[in-house]
């Protein structure tokens, strides 16, 4: 599938190739380590479709499933431009362009939160990104090192250990206190949690320790960056109010969020498609 942006009066030439079409859809695909997010925008930057699916074990299969979904929606095959991002960005053969998730998250967050000056905290499945945006441009960013401390995966593993869903874990954490986890490594921290369970520690206190461990990790990273502007939380954990509140407390600022926060990368990719057409 090749979609070439051209003028009006297009014609289907077979083999899935369109020439001289007016582009009507701008597609951003964010293949994350855990979840794949897709956004379809029209020429005005209005979000028309949001698709979400687990990435599973194959980015290539996920990309082709997304293509099927886009076909069902009538977006493909047609007059569109596709930009892929995320760690599986190279696994989308029908993308016209790859852009890194740092740039996409920044652009997407500006769009979603309606400002060109903001600091993005994206807690993803395998990494946490902190991005400073000024005038709509990335001016600085940090990513956690390759271990999973301070990432969504950390919370996921701990929630599993405690036999809870992520949302439950975060809600329960609000009722706990007085316990902390000192290990940065997810595997060691899991042993620590198992130790706490063994000692008969209350679940809410363990949940509190888990959430605060991730908050502290993110806050210490953010200490090196500019925070005197809008700070927003994106990524899969954006809709956990307790986490957002605690991040705000640790960073001494108000952290905003939006249900579209998890789509920030995909929205940024769609905007990148829109801009480059």
């Amino acid at each position: 599938m090749v979609c070439l942006p051209r003028n009006q009066g297009s014609k289907y030439t077979g083999n899935g190739v369109y020439y001289n079409m007016e582009i009507t859809n701008y597609v951003g695909i964010d293949i994350g380590s855990t979840c794949s997010k897709t956004i379809v925008m029209d020429g005005d930057g209005t979000i028309r479709h949001r698709l979400l699916r687990p990435t599973g074990w194959s980015s290539v299969d996920t990309a082709s499933s997304i293509r099927e979904e886009l076909k069902e929606l009538g977006v493909l095959p047609g007059s569109c431009r596709v930009v892929s991002t995320g760690y599986g960005r190279a696994a989308v053969p029908y993308a016209d362009k790859n852009v890194t998730e740092i740039t996409c998250h920044a652009k997407g967050a500006c769009h979603i939160f309606g400002t060109d000056h903001l600091t993005v905290i994206d807690i993803g499945g395998q990494d946490t990104k902190l991005i400073v945006v000024q005038g709509g441009q990335v001016t600085d960013f940090l990513m956690n090192d390759k271990c999973s401390a301070g990432t969504g995966r950390f919370l996921e593993v701990m929630a599993n250990t405690l036999s809870m869903r992520l949302e439950e874990l975060c809600e329960l954490a609000g009722k706990g206190g007085g316990v902390s986890i000192s290990s940065m490594c997810t595997v060691f921290a899991e042993s620590e949690v198992i130790g706490l369970i063994g000692k008969g520690e209350k679940r809410e206190n363990i949940a509190y320790a888990v959430v605060h461990s991730i908050v502290q990790k993110v806050a210490s990273q953010a200490g090196r960056l500019k925070l005197d502007q809008t700070v927003c939380l994106t990524g899969g954990l954006c809709e956990l109010p307790y986490l957002r509140e605690q991040l705000g407390k640790a960073l001494k600022c108000h952290v905003v969020s939006s249900p579209d926060g998890r789509y920030a990368g995909a929205a940024g990719a769609a905007l990148s498609a829109l801009k480059s057409s």
Binding site: I102, T103, D127, Q137, D140, F141, M143
Partner: protein, 423 residues
């Protein structure tokens, strides 16, 4: 390729394991170097050397040893080659730059040691590098704790001499380094059986200065907006210069510089004009560590300068050639070497001055400050480096990595995002 198997066998190498190393190198060279377009023709010399890196030069060294010359293996740009050359000795670099040697190093060193130290020790103890077998004496220095302790272990297997590098740069430290150089000279005289005279030392100083000037000429060409050579190719040139005969090195670098200067006149560039220009700084990139340059240059940017030991720190600043006594020459050597700005000194503000100057000279768009894992010194210095560069309006990306490929994807994302950020 010529057959060097007998030579390797005679060096007591682990043939089976060494074969594994020899198998991967051609692919790496092909992927990183030969795949590039429009390379300078003069790179043919370094292509040949790297294609037979464990053959050509080791065979030359062995020939010289047969004539009675001694080979000194070194690990740091602070060790003065001039002293060895004045006693008719030969210097060869010994830093390990491949993950291949790390497991053998980890047999005796903690895992939390920097990969360069682990690879260097592993290359010796695993008997899988001819240079580490050939060197008659190793010359170490006290530039980091990991190395200091590693030298104690290497010293059980090979004659080892350690120079005590000062930790500060006061007048008395420069005098102290001069004394260290004088003492090293005595050791070299004793080990080679050759006296170091002021005439011989003057010749050696001139020889090494000429090599430095030739390397600087190549680097000067990278200052041009019309970029006549890739960062990968220049890095290879610099890496090989640690192993090569200094006179031939100067000759080949001058030959390359001739071609690059002509390219600039003719407007021949290896990249398009809007390609972002990156200065790389941090810990050294020993052969065959091409990971960082390869990722940067296949992500749409070009490396135009290296502020590192395998870069400007190796050849910037010349030794005063006007001294006629050994005492004066040792002082001149000390003064030149003490201008090299390594993170093992405190304070090390000279490195920041260098970075700001080089960023301007080489017209860079951004700086990538990368240290090897577990290098506490360079890792800590990232804080002041990035603050100073940001204050000067120069974007900077701080990275930490090792010799493994496991983090290549993450590095590609960070470097890609940094290049996108440059606009």
């Amino acid at each position: 390729m010529a057959d060097y198997r007998q030579m390797w066998q005679e060096l007591g190498m682990d043939m089976e394991n060494h074969d594994n190393l020899c198998q991967v190198l051609p692919t790496a060279v092909g992927d990183v170097f030969l795949s590039q377009e429009n390379r300078p023709k003069a790179m043919d010399f370094w292509d040949l050397v790297i294609s037979e890196v464990h053959g050509i030069r080791p065979a030359e060294l062995i020939e010289e040893q047969k004539k009675g010359r001694k080979v000194f293996g070194t690990f740091c740009v602070y060790v003065p080659d001039e002293v060895v050359i004045a006693a008719n000795g030969i210097v060869t670099g010994l830093c390990g730059g491949s993950q291949f040697w790390v497991p053998d190093g980890e047999k005796v060193l903690p895992k939390s040691t920097c990969p360069l130290v682990k690879a260097s020790v592993g290359a010796r103890l695993g008997r899988t590098c001819p240079f580490f077998r050939i060197a008659d004496m190793y010359v170490g220095e006290t530039t980091c704790d990991g190395k200091k302790k590693a030298y104690e272990i290497l010293g059980e297997d090979v004659p080892m001499y350690v120079m005590d590098v000062p930790q500060m740069k006061r007048e008395k430290d420069i005098l102290k380094w001069k004394d260290e150089i004088a003492e090293f000279a005595k050791k070299v005289e004793e080990f080679t059986g050759n006296a170091i005279t002021p005439e011989k030392l003057a010749e050696a100083i001139h020889l090494v200065n000429e090599k430095r000037k030739a390397m600087q000429r190549v680097y000067d060409c990278r200052k041009s907006k019309c970029l006549p050579i890739s960062g990968r190719d220049t890095l290879l040139m610099t890496q090989i210069s640690f192993f090569d005969d200094p006179a031939r090195c100067a000759q080949m670098c001058n030959r390359l510089a001739d071609e690059l200067e002509q390219r600039i006149k003719d407007g021949v560039s290896v990249v398009s004009e809007d390609t972002k220009r990156i200065l790389v700084t941090g810990t050294p990139l020993a052969v065959p560590n091409w990971k960082l340059h390869n990722i940067i240059e296949t992500s749409g940017a070009a490396v135009v300068c290296e502020e590192m030991c395998t870069g400007t720190r190796y050849f910037e600043n010349l030794v005063d050639e006007s001294q006629t006594t050994l005492d004066g020459q040792f002082m001149a050597l000390s003064e030149r070497y003490m201008k090299t700005n390594c993170a093992c000194f405190t304070p090390n503000t000279g490195r920041i001055d260098d970075l700001l100057r080089l960023a301007k000279e080489y017209q860079v768009d951004g700086v990538i400050d990368c240290s090897l894992k577990f290098c506490c010194l360079y890792d800590t210095e990232k804080y002041s480096v990035s603050r100073a560069l940001k204050e000067a309006g120069i974007p900077v990306l701080s990275l930490e990595t090792d010799y493994e490929d496991a983090d290549a994807g993450q590095l590609r994302t960070r470097i890609g995002a940094f290049i996108e950020m440059l606009g």
